[in-house]
């Protein structure tokens, strides 16, 4: 809402102290987005009369204009606009004038012929938004006079307010003035309505068929209308508030809307066929709106129809073309109505026709401001139509659904003080609320007083006690309510899971991976390209773009895209991770009706192999106490089937480690191997790691020996280790695989695995015989797996 300082002063003596007014508005919740200076007079621009115009054979785009600036002399000016004719009054920026854009007017001319100034357009003077031609001034101005003082234009400013949706009243000057008046203790009054006696009765019959959607409909006939331009002051005010002047009828309607937050609509009374009917559309109906478009209507659209039931307007949204005001209109039928907000909102949103009027109906207009709006419209139109006749006999249909003039809301003093932390009394509260027109009807209860507050009809937002608490707080002043740090009765800490998540991040970062945050929305096909199914993916019902219409079920597609991006930018050492949510649809009958969303961690490195991925897993599992078995028998889709393993605990799959499937890499145009570790954190992070109990360190000597086996490729090193560990028993305190060798001296389908074993007892020195026995047990166990001891 744009509030023009001078216009605001019509409602009360607010003055021109911009700083003071801005601060007051902000403190009331009327956020001042910007303050713009307007109508700043430009020194040196005078009223001049066009004497004659002349073309020059060598200048195609400009012509020569001869003007009189009041001293009877003929001045010559070059001009690029051709909209003036001899006798017109136009603004002349004389030599030496500095224009708002910084240009200094000099005699510099064209073709060696000097120019004695510059003729100005409305936009150059900041007076209109019209840039097309020279501003033609009213005929009655005195030649040579300063244009700004001749037009009575004084420096002004516009406050652009961000009005919150709970304050519909502040979409009008009157509402802003009320709040501001209460804050600054300035008495306010709504501007004058029309006092001229009403003419002969002229009634147009109004029938409301949908009584919930339209609760009041006033139809007043006014004759003696001459459609034309508005007076300059009206046009200026509208322009400064961001509205384009159209004609005196439409402008008067817009003025009333800005002042009183009451939209009105003027029909050409001659074009109205036998009365008005307000009803909802029938399916299949259409209407040609003011903008010439044919609108297909739905049954939720509220229509203004004529007496023959033909639609002539979309209620509260846009009028119809057939009954529009024209240059010939002499009698207008003025609609001033109260429509229910959400219905108007639905139609306006569906048709993309949100207007100043529909926005106001949507948020709420004062159901009892109709009479004032009608008389104010007449007052403003009479400025340009002195013979205006406002006919008596206006229809004014009110339905039971019309909100009452006052709503009574109870307010407990103790409750107010409990929420605000204040010690306000019944009297304090009454005084504060009275300033904004909220009357205290009664007070009950001596010990625990409760007030009955009459809320006026222009404040539909104040429905309950807490709304009144907020009103008191606003007008008491938020900054008067104090600042007290509450003593938390909880102790601040991260939960064990949150602490573990931080620890986990720390390990991942320490391994050199940087954190990516890819888009969780995928394009159709992204999952397939990653080797994953789209069957369990959820679609967005209203995606922004088709390429972002699927919710991810894995972090891999996003990281592969990030890899592609970095490769294309020639990055080295591409090591990335993401820790984030994935959203597979899961089972339909989930308890909370939500998908199986869970937190996942994925690590990737370009040009690396499973060796690195396993190193990541080893570090993570040792620091974080993650436990799982490597299962190469079943590999998650999208991983290299022969160089990856599932991390599982029985039937539960905790993740996958290894390399990305070469087919996936090819589809993603990645020409390098990618090491990958993916973990489902929903289990791993919520586990509380077991606290280790101290075991005494053995004081007895240790026997160390190495065993090198030739093991067929079909047997995993893990299986051999498991067999050795079992065979070694409690005395086997260290078992490490420290060398793997393939090549000379070995069969093609086998490799050499060398293990270091350390035997030690906690309570004695092992005898040679014992060591030999254990060693033999190990050899036997290995032999069962086809592992042959090498010499």
């Amino acid at each position: 809402m744009k509030i023009l300082n001078s216009w605001l002063n019509d409602f009360g003596v607010f003055g021109t102290n911009v700083e003071k007014l801005s601060t007051a508005m902000t403190s009331l919740g009327l956020a001042v987005e910007s303050v713009t200076q307007v109508d700043t007079p430009i020194k040196g621009v005078v009223v001049a009369k066009v004497l004659r115009t002349e073309r020059h054979p060598d200048a195609a785009k400009v012509h020569r204009v001869y003007v009189d600036a009041g001293d009877g002399k003929e001045l010559h000016v070059w001009c690029g606009a051709f909209n003036m004719k001899p006798g017109d009054l136009i603004p002349l920026a004389t030599l030496g004038t500095t224009m708002p854009d910084g240009r200094l007017i000099t005699p510099r001319g064209i073709l060696g012929i000097e120019s004695h100034g510059m003729l100005c357009s409305g936009i150059e003077l900041g007076l209109t938004t019209d840039a097309d031609g020279i501003l033609i001034l009213p005929k009655n101005l005195k030649l040579g006079k300063d244009v700004f003082s001749a037009l009575d234009i004084k420096s002004d400013c516009v406050f652009d307010l961000d009005v919150t949706r709970n304050r519909p009243d502040c979409n009008g000057y009157l509402g802003v003035a009320r709040d501001l008046g209460a804050n600054l203790r300035i008495k306010i009054a709504a501007p004058m309505g029309d006092k001229v006696k009403k003419g002969a009765a002229r009634t147009i019959k109004v029938t409301i068929a949908d009584k919930k959607r339209c609760a009041r409909y006033n139809m007043t006939v006014m004759s003696g209308v001459v459609v034309g331009d508005s007076p300059n002051w009206i046009a200026r005010r509208l322009t400064n508030c961001g509205m384009r002047p159209i004609n005196n009828v439409v402008d008067a309607s817009n003025m009333v809307m800005l002042e009183l937050n009451q939209p009105t609509h003027a029909f050409d009374a001659e074009k109205i066929n036998n009365g008005f009917k307000i009803r909802c559309a029938r399916s299949g109906e259409t209407l040609v709106t003011l903008d010439g478009q044919t609108r297909a209507l739905e049954t939720t659209d509220l229509l203004i129809c004529d007496g023959k039931d033909n639609p002539i307007g979309l209620a509260g949204v846009m009028g119809g073309a057939a009954t529009e005001i024209s240059g010939q209109t002499q009698t207008v039928a003025l609609e001033t109505a109260w429509f229910e907000g959400s219905g108007i909102a639905r139609t306006a949103t569906r048709l993309g026709l949100r207007s100043e009027a529909s926005m106001r109906f949507e948020r709420g207009v004062d159901p009892h401001g109709v009479d004032h709006a009608v008389s104010r419209f007449a007052f403003l139109l009479r400025e340009s139509c002195p013979n205006l006749v406002v006919h008596s006999g206006a229809s004014d249909v009110k339905e039971k659904s019309l909100p009452a003039k006052q709503r009574v809301v109870a307010l407990r003093v103790a409750q107010l003080n409990r929420v605000l932390g204040t010690k306000l009394t019944t009297k304090d509260i009454s005084v504060i609320l009275a300033r904004i027109g909220f009357a205290t009807k009664s007070v009950s209860g001596a010990k625990t007083p409760s007030l009955k507050i009459a809320v006026p009809s222009w404040r539909p937002d104040c429905e309950s006690e807490i709304d009144l608490v907020e009103e008191v707080a606003r007008h008491y002043g938020y900054d008067q309510l104090g600042k007290v740090v509450p003593q938390s009765t909880m102790h601040g800490r991260l939960s064990p899971l949150q602490q573990r998540r931080r620890d986990l991040r720390d390990v991942v970062l320490s391994m050199g991976l940087s954190e990516a945050m890819p888009n969780p929305f995928l394009a159709p096909g992204d999952l397939t390209k990653t080797g994953l199914t789209e069957d369990n993916a959820i679609l967005l019902a209203n995606p922004l773009v088709f390429e972002e219409s699927i919710l991810r079920t894995s972090l891999r597609p996003g990281l592969l895209k990030a890899i592609g991006y970095n490769i294309s930018h020639r990055a080295a050492n591409i090591l990335l991770f993401e820790l984030g949510h994935v959203y597979p649809s899961g089972t339909a009958e989930s308890v909370d009706g939500l998908p199986d969303e869970y937190e996942s961690l994925c690590l990737v490195a370009v040009g690396e192999t499973s060796a690195l991925a396993l190193d990541w897993w080893s570090q993570l599992s040792s620091v974080m106490n993650f436990g799982a078995q490597l299962d190469q028998g079943s590999v998650e889709p999208g991983f290299h089937p022969k160089r990856s393993a599932t991390l599982r605990r029985g039937k539960q799959i905790l993740g996958c480690v290894g390399e990305i499937d070469p087919r996936v890499l090819a589809k993603n145009q990645i020409n390098a191997t990618v090491a990958c570790l993916e973990l489902n954190l929903s289990v791993l992070l919520s586990e509380t790691p077991r606290v280790a109990n101290a075991k005494p360190v053995s004081r007895f000597p240790r026997s160390d020996f190495d065993l090198a086996f030739a093991v067929p490729n079909s047997q995993t090193a893990g299986a051999v280790m498991k067999a050795l560990r079992q065979a070694g028993g409690v005395e086997l305190v260290v078992l490490e695989l420290f060398d793997v060798y393939r090549g000379a001296g070995l069969a093609d389908d086998s490799r050499s695995l060398t293990f270091r074993l350390c035997l030690q007892a906690s309570d004695r020195t092992l005898t040679d015989a014992e060591v030999t026995t254990i060693r033999q047990r190990c050899l036997d166990a290995a032999a069962k797996l086809g592992a042959r001891l090498r010499d």
Binding site: I466, E470, P486, M490, E597
Partner: protein, 342 residues
């Protein structure tokens, strides 16, 4: 030859032998030669040691003492000389080794280093730490939410006009319009109220979604942090006090805060909160207010017994401003050149 002369001759011979031994020590070429020399000089048959047997030939105790002292002094001199010379050789050897071992450490500087946490994560953790210090715990919730938790429970029933401002992304899951990507972290408030019960001092950071076309200051996927306090006797002054304490703890002591009236369906009285930089400029930070009685009821809390406040703001913007990132979209390109700066 008189005894006197004999003593004189022996003394002379000892001095000569001593000097030649010292000369030999001095001119030993290396540690091995010196060691060999030492062995040689210690032998019974060595020249100096042979004088010991000569002492028997002397009759006078006086003479024996003279020669004995002379021999001892010579032996001490020689052993000291060997020790010194050995020290010199050892020192030389070590310094030669040190010289040989010379290393250009700049050859060893590698590119390998710690990874970089995303600046949004860094900001989130800093915020969490500040609130943990103020006695808050951290609550989390799912990013896919029900319409009920995201809107209805927050005092925005189905027809509420404010819903249109959230540009919600709905999912094809369950009943049409019933499951969505949360538009704010506020649904976690409802979850916390239901599961924790008062007293509640909680913050709720997380990812949120709006159907906004990306531009320099907006992303459809971004992050918010939200605070919720519900306890007996909580007032508007506690809200203002918490915002002030946070402002000073997070931004610095030369910052201050203010609340000005605003509107949100889930709080009343509602406010926007601004922070004031040391240079006097006000920056709009977020929204806050006293939890609306209807929202407390949705969370199963009796508004006649408890009061509460809530506040929330964007995390991405904080990260963006802290690191002077020109365009918020840059934060989400996952370009390592960008990530590795922080």
């Amino acid at each position: 030859m008189s005894e006197q002369n004999t003593v004189g001759a022996i003394s002379q011979a000892i001095e000569t032998a001593r000097d030649s031994a010292l000369q030999a020590i001095k001119s030993a070429s290396d540690l091995d030669a010196l060691r060999a020399l030492g062995v040689e000089l210690n032998k019974k048959e060595s020249q100096l040691n042979s004088f010991k047997s000569d002492m028997g030939k002397l009759s006078s105790v006086e003479d024996k003492r003279t020669i004995g002292q002379l021999l001892n002094a010579a032996a001490t001199l020689i052993s000291t000389a060997i020790e010194t010379r050995t020290g010199e050789f050892t020192e030389l050897e070590i310094s030669n080794r040190i010289a040989r071992e010379s290393l250009d450490l700049t050859e060893l500087l590698t590119q390998r280093r710690r990874g970089h946490s995303h600046i949004v994560t860094q900001a989130t953790q800093r915020l969490e730490d500040v609130f943990v210090g103020l006695g808050f715990q951290i609550a989390e919730g799912p990013e896919v939410e029900t319409d009920f938790n995201n809107f209805e429970a927050l005092n925005m029933p189905k027809s509420h006009p404010a819903r249109s401002e959230f540009d919600t992304m709905f999912l094809e899951y369950g009943e049409p319009g019933s499951v969505l990507l949360r538009t704010h972290t506020s649904p976690v408030q409802i979850r916390v109220m239901k599961s924790w019960k008062p007293p509640i001092y909680a913050i709720m950071p997380g990812r949120v979604f709006r159907r906004d076309t990306p531009d320099a200051t907006h992303m459809p996927v971004f992050h918010q942090i939200e605070g919720l306090v519900v306890d007996r006797g909580i007032t508007f002054a506690h809200l203002a006090g918490t915002i002030e304490a946070f402002t000073k703890a997070f931004f610095g002591d030369d910052f201050s805060s203010r609340l000005r009236p605003s509107f949100f369906p889930f709080t009343e009285p509602s406010a926007e909160f601004d922070i004031r930089r040391a240079d006097g400029e006000w920056i709009e930070l977020g929204g806050c207010g006293m939890v609306h009685p209807n929202v407390l009821r949705s969370g199963g809390i009796d508004p006649e017994e408890f009061t509460g406040f809530a506040f929330g703001f964007g995390i991405d913007r904080m990260a963006k401003e802290r690191h002077k990132v020109g365009d918020i979209r840059e934060m989400y390109t996952n370009d390592l050149r960008f990530l590795r700066q922080f």
